[in-house]
Symmetry: D3
Subunit: 247 residues, 6 copies
């Protein structure tokens, strides 16, 4: 089984961190293929960055089709472009937020997502509500720019810990979801410190991808995720025109 993990931002060190986290939990027969977007923002912080990361994401999904993959993961906690990717692909596509909150739901009745900047908090809260967890999950921002997570000296981990402690004492959180792909290497350590489940989206998404593939399930092509209709795409986007018939 080959799982393609696409980092929709262009920072290769974050891809490597996510790939390492993925490989650490992948099953014996699973090959993790990591791709970094080659066009778009160096980090995804808010709606503008996210929207402009989608062409790069879709490009990776498309160009790697020939080599083949059995499932894909969008390695950003905002689930950037997830709906578009599911519409495009014939294989299952997983997002970090959706995978992580579904996983948390099996472990705890109430939990808190701790993300980076305030500008991402409402965006993720909207996702959590759309995924049906609005009455079970709270979202908190810890005031950490995404790229500070790549810098051990930034103090980012202390801010993150402080916010987790507030979630436990003020929210009655029974579990913690780490709300940024850049936090993926911290889950195990934080779980040991706080002795509650700490869920990382990269790891959660890998296991969901493996699950869907081994169950022979893929995105429904009936209704809202039906394959793109064949049509012209103009100008700089012309390369994205679908070439096959709609499902």
């Amino acid at each position: 089984m080959r799982i393609l993990i696409v980092n929709p931002n262009t920072t290769a060190s974050m891809t490597e961190k996510a790939a390492a986290a993925a490989r650490a939990v992948a099953a014996a027969g699973t090959e993790i293929i990591a791709a970094t977007s080659r066009m778009g923002p160096v980090s995804i912080e808010g709606h503008y960055d996210g929207a402009l990361a989608i062409p790069g994401l879709l490009t990776e999904l498309k160009e790697r089709q020939e080599a083949g993959y059995d499932a894909a993961i969008v390695a950003c906690f905002d689930d950037t472009g997830l709906d578009a990717a599911r519409t495009f692909a014939d294989v299952p596509v997983l997002g970090l937020c959706e995978s992580a909150v579904a996983t948390a739901g099996f472990l705890a009745q109430r939990f808190t997502v701790v993300t980076t900047l305030e500008r991402s908090r409402v965006l993720i809260d909207n996702l959590v509500r759309r995924y049906g967890m609005g009455s079970r999950a709270k979202v908190r921002a810890s005031d950490i720019p995404v790229l500070e997570l790549e810098d051990a000296a930034s103090g980012a981990i202390d801010k993150l810990k402080a916010e987790i402690e507030r979630a436990l004492s003020e929210d009655g959180a029974e579990a913690i979801v780490l709300g940024c792909a850049g936090m993926t290497d911290l889950a195990r350590e934080l779980q040991d410190v706080y002795r509650v489940p700490v869920i990382d989206g990269v790891a959660a998404a890998v296991k969901q991808a493996e699950a869907l593939v081994s169950l022979g399930l893929s995105t429904s092509k009936r209704g809202s995720y039906a394959s793109p209709l064949p049509k012209h795409f103009m100008g700089a986007m012309s390369g994205f025109a679908p070439i096959r018939a709609a499902g």
Copy 2:
């Protein structure tokens, strides 16, 4: 007052239709500037088309900043890229779906949105729920490809009328919202036939744009719509890198 209407698909005839609808309702001092995206799909049907229309939309918003506009409208009922556009712009940005359902809410307690294809129905239903109208509005698809609305001989209007009649008899609809920018020229005629309010998103958005500008209100730059943070954008997207400081 100058209002920029961007058609995020690349079909100029739809832009013209929307511009005409906008000018028909614009106040005396309002100038409507119509722009057609120069990159992306010729029509927006589903998540894939929508995501790939956003760079073209943002390009128009950016390139026309120098000439200046006081508000912008995204002329697609899927509210394609609306969050990104609000994050980008310093002026108010309106979407057709959000404007139309807010307008319908002042006129009716229960209403139905009639859109084109099934693949757009769930997408719009998600928007309607996010905008808080989930318990008041139903969304129906009338099985019309978007570009058939440009062809008088396509039978599209008969399909649309049949679906409106079902909405009135089965949903208890008190008003109808036309769920595609390509239907903008039909609102007045359908209102005369069915004698219930028929709301067109283009017209609704023009009035909301005028309202916000004349009230001196613009998108909040605190929280989820804060201006893009300055950062590098790579590759084909490098032109989108924000150059000003964050709000």
Copy 3:
């Protein structure tokens, strides 16, 4: 275009303040006609005051029909009698709360309404939920009796500012809605201080009224807002008996 603003309480100074706010934002061709209820409470604080303000409101709507108006506004943030007014009138009727929260929804994903007394807080929270903004808006009371807003020496503005500051720091509010018609003159000043959108219901309702009239839209007379059925009204209310056939 003639817009009738009815203050459903009997305090003329509040009517004047609302009329001034309305005229300040009205379009060139819009005439604002201000009316003060001649029967009922001097201010509306809670359910009892509100219910007993409705006959006075409907009287103004009725008696001014002959002179004519194209839309009406109920100038109380509780949206007092709004449903009854919409059922009665053949022209669009707007409420302050509904207009303000719809307007806020175009500017911010999360916002806070700051009202006067605790007894109005839950009433407005119920409105906000009915209008579909329950997951996006919080309602706060600032412990100000309505008529203190008419008295510059009362300290009311300081209490209001303190509550706005709590909304910004504790709620993550991206915009503020002023939850009382008596605050209408403060919006611009507060927006300058706090640098987030501050929405006043009177101004918002004027623009929505103008929008509906210029779009040729009025309240649906199918379903819940169908015109009153012709029937006898007894005793002191006999003057309210509808005289036309139902819609």
Copy 4:
């Protein structure tokens, strides 16, 4: 224990029917005092009628205070003026809709309310949602004008039965709530026919009133139902000015 039942419309035959239904279920020591509003519409069909029934309702509540009552019931399924009555009174006040749907909730997980006209359907659906039963209860209209229920030859009962049958077959209703005070005499007969619980609001409200009184519970005077603040009421409403200090 003395329970005051106020019919907020002015049709005495409906009052008598409600009083008979109340007396049929009242406990041994309960005295039912029936009052018919002396001002307002002869039947309540929609928002306009309802709003103008409130002064008559409050007048009965007030004028009968000297004689005394331990609880009051608003005998209209729209719960007309219920919030105002609770704010006014020092004793518990019950509405038919709220009492009936709470009672149905103890008997069935899913149920249907069958009311009269379409114009009342949405109004009652809004109440049902406010009372928290939106995901458990459906509301249907049976196209019966209220006063036809007073006329045995009108065919109203056949229409009502047809709608109940649709509720059972199409909604999966486990119980039926009769959505009009004028249907109060039909509950037992319909329950015998359809062998599911059939709940009448008058009877339900009497038992809730007895319950609250015997438990020593009354409306909270903290927050949204705090007693009216002392203030002037002008003109034809001056008699409604509160004379006591606020709670």
Copy 5:
């Protein structure tokens, strides 16, 4: 009328307290029959205890059928086994939480439930949401083990009072619901202290049981509470096999 109150835990002193509270509010003709489960946990704190209390509850309901009862109450605030009991019995069955929150809903628009341990808080919050009160009621834990309520020297009442005070000051609670059967003797005293309605589930359930019986209403046997289908039960549970035909 005979009302059976079953304490689903095995602590007889709690049964006696509940029976005394029930008798204190029962109508003249109501006989309260108190039963203590003879199998299961000595107190119910969380899901495990609750699930294992159900066979004992159902045993009491079954064995006392021959002597006869007109309604039954499950005397635990977790509404332990309520759905199963309603499916089993031919008479109405009431739970404390459902009865108490419905009663609170007649008295206050916003209220707080104060329960014992954190492990019960989410469980009760889930019930409150299922009963439709999620947007009106908050649930708080006061960190009191259930059996400490039986011990006057435990300091439990002080903890309970402190939590009520937080509910009043922080939640804007207009009424308080006591969230444990073991608090039943404290309601009147706390109501006197805090001067807001304080609702005890035992008392509320007794009045609801009396109401349903006197209205001739019982659990619907159509749909989700249909009588158990006749079938074999194996092993230690064989005595629970239904012997009658399904409803």
Copy 6:
């Protein structure tokens, strides 16, 4: 990895079918241990059967602890006793309904659960709402007694197919969830027929169990699933008394 699947009804043929389905999808290193409850109903149809199946379920979980298992699955689509099992166990516990609807959520935006009898429909609908899928999923009953699924000549499959066809044409379902453990062998065949994802709860739960174990995640012992407090259990339930200290 050892996964214990407990069939909470006592019909061994259903256990075998579930075990076969589990083994068909289990990863290479996963051992499936199947257990049939030795006490309780032969099938679970409704609340009564479900409640009385829990002691048998917990007995299997307890007695097999010594031999050891890394995760457990409750093999009934009603998620019978799932909360109690999670409270009891130190390893992850999965339910079929929760696993299946989470899985469906990765594949489709709207889907339908098709279950057996009407009495199970509302019960499952309540679960679906609790799991946050209420606005995305519809639940349908196909009028099949559970044990008819064990009898190839019963016509059960035809009824099931007819209901799936209604789901596709009337609900706009993009995927189908099979709402009974007894349907587990039909998923692949039905997916081939209808060409939409068909999700079986047993298979979904196995993959979720494997996922949680390999991620080192288990049920949170903070809050609502905290380990049972040590206490006496009386009578026939005395064997269930927890012997370890609470978490």
